[in-house]
């Protein structure tokens, strides 16, 4: 291994030696990436987080060999006396073994502060580097809809989480559904419409990526006590069948529409074609309501990662949604 940890730490010390005042580090942000197309994109976002949260960031670039590294520190003046550092280390780690990688990360992170792993690898638990790095991290942030175009990552994620002790997990694919969950819930805040939830017989989700679509259906089903019964259906506690249909539409990682058909009405939340930040909510049928449009508070990736850092555990809602989505995926797998 040609990476010299002491040399890197020495460069960090040298780079900040002229800084006056106190170094405040609130977290280690470790980002692993093995897709050259994602590298620049991820670094930009990691830098944006570091600008807000004094951090030591460690970009593990598996697209370059271990002979490359870069170190950079940044200071901000606050008042007359305090300066605070953002410290960035970028390492080429292609070909570095999982054990070595973990050892390097241990040596280069600041002890006793939270370590967040942002994983942008191609696989999860099947990759030993993932296993090693998650054993170091306090929390894991991933975006399952970036890992693969299908929802297979949800499979891997569920199995890994079921496998024993693991750090807190946030999946950006699930987190970006927050505004949609709220929109759908709004339909049923009205007591007269809440009763329709029991008679939903069909759910259609149009989205650009499968992970978001499965998560959305998984969330809905877990809230309404539906159980996966076949490749494309759930069964509710009364034994009634709920058909599920997925349509691939719109840009990646974007939900475009969800429609819920109940005994009396159809509830549709849909992005406006000419105004992509506006969602129109329609209730048609016997319990029709006037259409209402509301801005979709689409959350940018930096804000999602920041939220994942501040609230590292997705909670039961996330875990139950994931488990229900996985159960549907399993039914699909077994029927195909």
């Amino acid at each position: 291994m040609s990476l010299n940890v002491n040399e890197i730490l020495g460069e960090l010390t040298k780079d900040r030696k002229d800084r006056v005042g106190v170094s405040a580090t609130t977290l280690n942000l470790v980002a692993f990436v093995e897709d050259a197309a994602l590298l620049g994109w991820l670094k930009e976002r990691i830098d944006a987080i570091a600008q807000k949260h004094p951090s030591r960031t460690l970009v593990l670039d598996a697209t370059h060999t271990d002979s490359t590294h870069a170190v950079h520190t940044e200071a901000k003046d606050v008042g007359d006396t305090l300066s605070t550092h953002a410290e960035a280390i970028e390492l080429g780690v292609a070909g570095v073994s999982a054990e070595s990688l973990a050892s390097i990360v241990r040596a280069l992170t600041v002890p006793n502060v939270q370590t967040v792993l942002c994983w942008a690898g191609s696989h999860l638990a099947g990759d030993m580097r993932f296993r090693q790095l998650t054993s170091i991290a306090n929390s894991l942030v991933l975006d399952s809809s970036r890992v693969d175009a299908t929802a297979q990552t949800l499979y891997e994620l569920t199995d890994w989480m079921a496998g024993g002790h693991h750090p807190a997990v946030r999946d950006l694919a699930y987190m970006r559904l927050g505004p949609w969950q709220d929109m759908i819930a709004q339909f049923f805040d009205e007591a007269d419409l809440a009763g329709e939830l029991a008679s939903i017989s069909r759910v259609t989700v149009a989205a650009g990526s499968q992970a978001e679509a499965y998560y959305l259906v998984g969330w809905l089903a877990s809230r309404l006590q539906w159980h996966a019964r076949g490749a494309a259906e759930f069964c509710n506690s009364q034994g009634q069948i709920i058909a599920v249909a997925f349509e691939e539409q719109g840009g990646a990682r974007r939900v475009r529409r969800i429609a819920l058909e109940s005994g009396h009405s159809t509830f549709t939340a849909e992005l406006q074609k000419d105004s992509p930040d506006l969602v129109c909510l329609r209730v048609e049928g016997k319990k029709a309501r006037p259409q209402r449009c509301a801005p979709l508070h689409d959350i940018d990736v930096v804000s999602l990662i920041e939220e994942a850092i501040l609230v590292p555990d997705g909670g039961n809602l996330f875990r139950e949604s994931l488990a229900t989505a996985r159960a549907l995926l399993e039914e699909r797998g077994s029927s195909s």
């Binding site: 106190v22 807000k52 606050v78 969950q181 709220d182 819930a185 939830l197 039961n316 809602l317």
Partner: protein
């Protein structure tokens, strides 16, 4: 009646009686941060400066941050002549001029604007309040705001009783509202002395229960003020030493470089004691001195704050001279510019006896604080704008470092409220080298860099809390009354005996010289 807020099974309930929503299973575990209850907020005094500079920008930013309820309405109610259209333009302009998030986003504004309307009204005219009631019913239908109404008194205090009376007469009081909750936010000052505060409270009580009244003190909405609780009760390292055994004194400072600006008429009838000490500064004292509450419930916290005030004995008249200092600024220089004397400010009486500086030494008579002086000071046209709480710890008990021990500074914890927001701790360390030189160093935590986020203005937090039914950061009547009881002997002496040394400090200075007789160790401004 107190108000508490609980969330269970997706249903929000508040102790003022009315739940947020029927149970919706899709709400279970879903924490959007948004206020669940739909509501209409009525701003009395909507054409005033407070609404323009603070309240409207706060409402807009609550929308930007997706905290406002989905079904929301705003009605401006004031004397000035506006139509709905011109009032919306006025609101938009106030956002453009004063919002922390910059100019309005048109996509958001279009939706907001249609929820805003205005009533040009006379507070004496019963018919105008009847029309307001009708407007609220129309809002409930058109904007889905249900029966929930939040009244905001942003008018001069003199018309508070009249508005409250009109609310009752028009049938907009909580008891007449069978479809939702009714709450009222009352701006400070709550009375101008103990008698007027009690009189105002008597009017309020005729219409609202205590759990429906939100007395605003915007200091309590500031992030560092809220952080006092976190600092004390989310850490184990401070609580064991947070008492008379380790703390020598507490200083609370709220100093301004500004003069009375355009508020001369108001200020000359108020003074520093009424304007700052009785409310803002006393509330800071309560947060520093209170016992750990049993829960984060609003009343659990407010009970503890009230106990602090109960443990402060109001001064006997003869003690007022010994335990207080008052001052009034003369002409001087602030930030390099000459500024006039208080008595020559606009709308101030030429022989005014109003204090622009007040300093007090209070004692909290309980087990934790017996013998620890709490020094409070507030003033205008001082050397530096600073609000902070400084806790000075006892000197070291044993001189381990010989003569050098005499120069060792005492540890100090400073909670900085404005303009810097954060916490600093002073401790001592050895200067590197063969000799035992001890020097004090300061460790700073700054909100801006520590968390990288800008604190939201206090009004955003407080309006949002009132909509949620969370009264934690609002002042309860018993505390308001007790704070008046504490300052009344001082007010009475100061009013009856004029200070012939006025003006007694130069603008831009540290205040009157005799404030250092009260406390020789004030932190420099």
């Amino acid at each position: 009646m107190a108000t508490t807020t609980t969330k269970a099974n997706g249903k929000t309930t508040t102790q003022d009686g009315l739940g947020a929503q029927a149970v919706n299973p899709l709400r279970q575990g879903l924490d959007t941060g948004r206020i669940n209850d739909p509501c209409t907020i009525v701003f009395f005094g909507a054409s005033g400066d407070l609404f323009k500079r603070m309240l409207m920008p706060a409402i807009y930013n609550l929308r930007v941050d997706d905290i406002l309820p989905t079904n929301f309405g705003l009605i401006g109610f004031a004397r000035s002549e506006y139509t709905d259209k011109t009032f919306r333009a006025y609101c938009k302009q106030s956002v453009n001029d004063f919002s922390r998030s910059g100019k309005v986003k048109e996509s958001l504004w279009d939706d907001m604007a249609q929820r805003i309307s205005y009533m040009s009204a006379d507070f004496d005219d019963t018919e105008h309040f009847a029309q307001l009631k009708k407007r609220l019913e129309e809002y409930a239908q058109a904007h889905g705001t249900g029966g929930n109404v939040l009244f905001y008194l942003a008018t001069p205090p003199s018309v508070f009783p009249k508005i409250i009376d009109q609310i009752k007469n028009a049938g907009m009081d909580p008891k007449s509202n069978t479809k939702g909750w009714t709450r009222i936010i009352v701006e400070k000052p709550f009375g101008t002395d103990l008698t007027s505060a009690r009189a105002l409270q008597a009017e309020v009580e005729k219409v609202f229960d205590e759990g429906q009244v939100y007395r605003i003190d915007h200091y309590l909405g500031k992030e560092p003020v809220q952080d006092i609780m976190a600092l004390r009760f989310a850490n184990t390292i401070f609580e064991p030493i947070w008492n008379r055994n380790y703390i020598q004194s507490v200083q609370i400072t709220a100093a301004e470089t500004l003069g009375v600006e355009a508020r001369g008429g108001y200020y000359d009838n108020a003074g520093a004691l009424r304007d700052m000490i009785q409310n803002h500064v006393m509330n800071l004292l309560a947060l520093v001195a209170m016992e750990p509450p049993a829960s984060s419930d609003a009343d659990a916290i407010r009970n503890e704050k009230f106990k602090v005030f109960s443990a402060i004995e109001p001064f006997a008249p003869e003690d007022v001279f010994r335990m207080t200092v008052r001052g009034q600024y003369d002409a001087g220089t602030v930030d390099g510019k000459p500024v006039p004397a208080y008595r020559t400010e606009q709308d101030v009486k030429p022989a005014s006896n109003t204090e622009t500086f007040a300093a007090l030494k209070l004692v909290v008579n309980n087990w934790r604080w017996a013998g620890v002086p709490f020094y409070l000071r507030s003033g205008k046209r001082l050397a530096r704008k600073v609000s902070e709480i400084a806790i000075t710890f006892n000197a070291i008990p044993h001189k381990l470092f010989g003569e050098k021990s005499d120069t060792i500074e005492q540890n100090e914890l400073v909670i900085k409220i404005q303009p810097d927001e954060g916490v600093s701790i002073r401790f001592n360390g050895k200067v590197p080298g063969p000799k035992n030189h001890i020097r004090s160093v300061t460790m700073d935590f700054n909100y801006g860099t520590g968390f990288g986020v800008q604190s939201a203005p206090a009004y955003e937090r407080l309006i949002g809390d009132a909509m949620r039914g969370d009264a934690t950061l609002f002042t309860r009547w018993d505390a308001v009354q007790r704070a008046w009881e504490i300052v009344m002997p001082i007010l009475e002496v100061w009013t009856s005996i004029k200070d012939r040394t006025f003006p007694n400090y130069a603008a831009g200075s540290e205040g009157p010289a005799n404030s250092h007789e009260l406390n020789p160790n004030w932190r420099p401004l």
